[in-house]
Symmetry: C2
Subunit: 215 residues, 2 copies
């Protein structure tokens, strides 16, 4: 009797308290698919320009159903933000774990960010950047999540610089934390410029210039 209760609690925690309860009619829609639709809308239009109508279309739900699963529009946004950062962190860690040397892994991350900032994906934009620009100043909770996401990226990059010290692919003189901070500026700036649709003709040149930070 207590085991399923614990399982439910764990699922509720991982799903951010948006998991379906045990009693009553079960949820018919897929929460992850619905949130993917919400992510698409919020990335393209931002928070304020996304209407509930936009969200019902993209999530495949009626407004009544949305308000059964979420407290309000902001609650949808926070759930979408959390899923976005979850997926993005997974992608980054995958990219950052492929190559042999730490230097090459950092190069792969730059390429990944540059690719994310190109074409349709670039125009769609980054939800973290969008939240920072549109919401962080007046919403403490959003600001905290944006800060945590940036700190997370910074830590990942700093860790790679430190690994580079160990495998001798990055000179000891390169400060991990300070360099990672500048690299975060660089990557977030790529997303901004990508939103404006200005992509570099030859990304490989851009990457090599960015790699000078590891000198």
């Amino acid at each position: 009797m207590i085991v399923p209760y614990i399982a439910v609690m764990i699922k509720m925690v991982t799903a951010g308290s948006h998991a379906a309860p045990v009693r009553g009619r079960p949820r018919e829609f897929d929460m992850e698919e619905a949130l993917d639709g919400a992510i698409r809308v919020f990335r393209e239009r931002g928070y304020h320009a996304s209407s509930i109508g936009d969200l019902t279309d993209a999530m495949g739900l009626a407004s009544g159903s949305i308000y059964k699963a979420f407290k309000d529009k902001r609650d949808i946004f926070l759930a979408a933000f959390d899923r976005y950062t979850l997926l993005r962190t997974a992608q980054m860690q995958q990219v950052a774990g492929a190559a042999k040397s730490a230097r090459e892994r950092l190069r792969d991350l730059f390429a990944f960010y540059l690719e994310s900032s190109r074409g349709v994906e670039g125009r769609r934009g980054c939800l973290v950047v969008g939240s920072a620009v549109e919401l962080a100043i007046f919403d403490r909770e959003v600001a905290a999540r944006v800060g945590a996401s940036l700190a997370n990226n910074e830590a990942l990059l700093a860790g790679l610089v430190r690994e580079g010290h160990l495998d001798s692919s990055v000179p000891r003189g390169v400060d991990p934390e300070e360099t990672a901070r500048v690299m975060v500026y660089l990557t977030q700036g790529m997303r901004v410029v990508g939103k404006a649709g200005r992509a570099p003709p030859d990304p490989s040149i851009t990457i090599e210039i960015a790699m000078k930070l590891l000198t």
Copy 2:
């Protein structure tokens, strides 16, 4: 008879067709002060979260008066954007013209951007970044202005790199255009992170790391 007409036309062009006409009751408010108020509102809240009520407060005008001077909310925004980029470009050119060597002028520009991304000013944000993120994808005219502003900054930075070749403060191997592109990423990223309220404890270290791009 024709001379004042020409003068009026020139003023209308420079003021973006928002100048007061010759006939009728003259405008009582100062257009530049009003636009400064609009700039403050749009920088803090973005476009969609800024209500006409916010703008009447910040511009010191009633809604009826605002609609006498501007076609609609978007027209106010475009005028504010143009004034913002005008002022910002002037500031940048002033900063970029002080030091002796081109390398030092580039360093001053990094410091200027980092300072603009700190504290209250940083939280207030950059109107170009905000426009790129919130509006560029669905508003061609805004996208064009954002693109022009980024291209302008890029050209300014590239020009300094080229000057650095001439005064030998920047190695010849540093490509002006490609390096300027990366520097734009860097500076726009600073504004994003500044919006989130995360400023570097010691800006001078950050600046020196950024200067590695000129290696």
